[in-house]
Symmetry: C2
Subunit: 325 residues, 2 copies
């Protein structure tokens, strides 16, 4: 380690070999809206999805086929997918907790579904009322059935950076669960910093441990910006070669109990940083701001995404300058 | 460059040799409050400075000795410093635009002052009504006089990552200005991403260019979080060995014309990330949250700092849980 007595510059190189292009996997309509207090009319959800597609987003998790008893906000999954229809080049996905959900997703015309596993026993119990072993078994059933249907399955692994109930989560357990999920045939594992406690060194440690066993292209990062570190963690992932990053329009999601507290990494913040570094996303930032503005309008509150607020502020400033002259 | 066809993991090592300790240079009371629409009573400013000291902050820019005609919010500089008094182990500083300001700072008992230079001609003219050459000359006068008084001088170089009027700022110009400032005897140069447009690759390029001529320990980063990238840029600086980071309590400052838009990197967000990576700051996060809460109370609005909002949200949640049981 460098000590402060003898500082030495160590610069250059580590950002030299970034991926040329990354995929942004949009989770706003599902992960975001499910955490909002206000339930939107299905038509409004469809408008939001349309706006995301118009911005160039190509991978969007639209809804969840869970029992309406659990998440009433998402009970209109079939109707929403019907309203949205198919979009050339866009892959829609939905969360499915079990075989019944997968069947519904298939009937609604989806080619991709996602399953949910927690790396913490306590979080798994509280969140989906299953032990980790039971969640893995449910995932295996879904993965096997999906393969027969010709659908592909993505896995969310949550609490990888820490658990609200158990605190630290051993990285060996994360590695073990990920190996099982890959063996089941999941095409991608999205590693979740569910409560947004991750720092870059921890991100490096987690990725270092995983990449001994899991191929790079199987991994995605699902970062929360609760304490402002999501982009710094994304930078570590990017420099390691990760090419899929989950994000939510405007940072939609947040914590309904804490107005102002941030949730998911905001799609615009991620796209701004990636494109500013020459890493292509295929997404148009101006249109993304329009989608973010629409999201704010629909849910009736300001979102936490910083690029969005800066862009809207700039526009307001210009408008008031015009009004004065 | 890695292509997406042949992804290869490149992990490990680049976060291995971080500094063991960094200094956070607090700019909230000066840079922050000067950008607020509401002018605080001097007593309230003093309370905020006390709260920052109580959190363990050791370097605080308290005010500015500019003409009250320019920034009436800071016309109480002498009174504020009298109220705050001396604190063992804490270095207070103030911005001084010229010899008169330096003289006032000295009479108020300060051992450190800061000068301001812009890397963009248009920004320099609009902001301080001086050309870059004139600003450099004023800095030289201050630096020479300060040396005779036994005071040390810090330099802010603004618009290093981009200018709101000129757009891109050539890095060669930044290097040239920095070399002159070091030659004048400034003990530290704080590189400013004044409008918060920086991305990590640009940060790496700027630091690479500067570190050929400027000793590492002379450089500090003054990052704005307008588009969410401040911590990612700080991470690049940290990995290059930079050990001083400017920050503002709660992200105080922002842009008064755009409520919700972020300004300075929030002190708590920086301290959370640094300490979470094992990089010591000597600052207590809980006390910092108390200072942030006080800042919100005093200026009468929510601040943009994410750690602060998350911490306050957690507390609210706990309180409502207690109320229910």
């Amino acid at each position: 380690m460098d000590s402060n007595e003898h500082p030495r510059a160590r610069i250059g190189g580590w950002l030299g070999g970034l991926p040329q292009r990354v995929d942004v996997y949009e989770v706003g309509p599902r992960d975001g809206l499910q955490n909002e207090l206000r339930t939107l009319p299905t038509r409004d959800k469809a408008r939001l999805v349309e706006a995301l597609v118009a911005a160039g987003e190509k991978r969007i998790e639209v809804t969840s086929f869970v029992s309406p008893k659990w998440i009433p906000q998402l009970s209109d999954a079939e109707e929403l997918l019907r309203l949205v229809g198919r979009k050339p080049g866009v892959v829609f996905s939905a969360l499915v907790p079990n075989l019944k959900g997968l069947q519904r997703a298939r009937e609604a015309g989806l080619q991709e579904a996602a399953v949910f596993i927690s790396a913490s026993e306590a979080h798994s119990k509280k969140n989906i009322n299953k032990s980790i072993a039971e969640a893995l078994e449910a995932s295996r059933e879904v993965a096997t059935a999906a393969a027969q249907m010709g659908m592909r399955v993505r896995g969310y692994l949550s609490t990888v950076w820490g658990c609200p109930y158990e605190g630290e989560v051993p990285v060996e357990r994360v590695v073990d669960i990920c190996r099982r999920l890959v063996d089941m045939g999941l095409y991608q594992l999205s590693l979740g910093d569910t409560i947004g406690v991750g720092t870059p060194r921890q991100t490096e440690e987690i990725l270092s441990a995983l990449l001994k066993y899991i191929p790079l292209e199987k991994l995605a990062l699902h970062l929360h910006d609760t304490r402002g570190t999501a982009l710094a963690n994304a930078l570590v992932g990017l420099s390691a070669g990760i090419t899929t990053f989950d994000a939510s329009i405007g940072g939609l999601g947040g914590c309904p109990y804490a107005p102002g507290a941030a949730g998911n990494l905001a799609t615009e913040d991620a796209v701004f940083m990636f494109q500013g570094m020459g890493v292509e996303t295929g997404i148009n930032l101006d249109r993304l701001v329009e989608a973010g503005e629409l999201a704010q309008e629909l849910i009736g509150r300001k979102l936490a995404g910083k690029f969005l607020q800066a862009a809207l502020g700039e526009r307001e400033k210009k408008a008031s300058r015009r009004a004065r002259t």
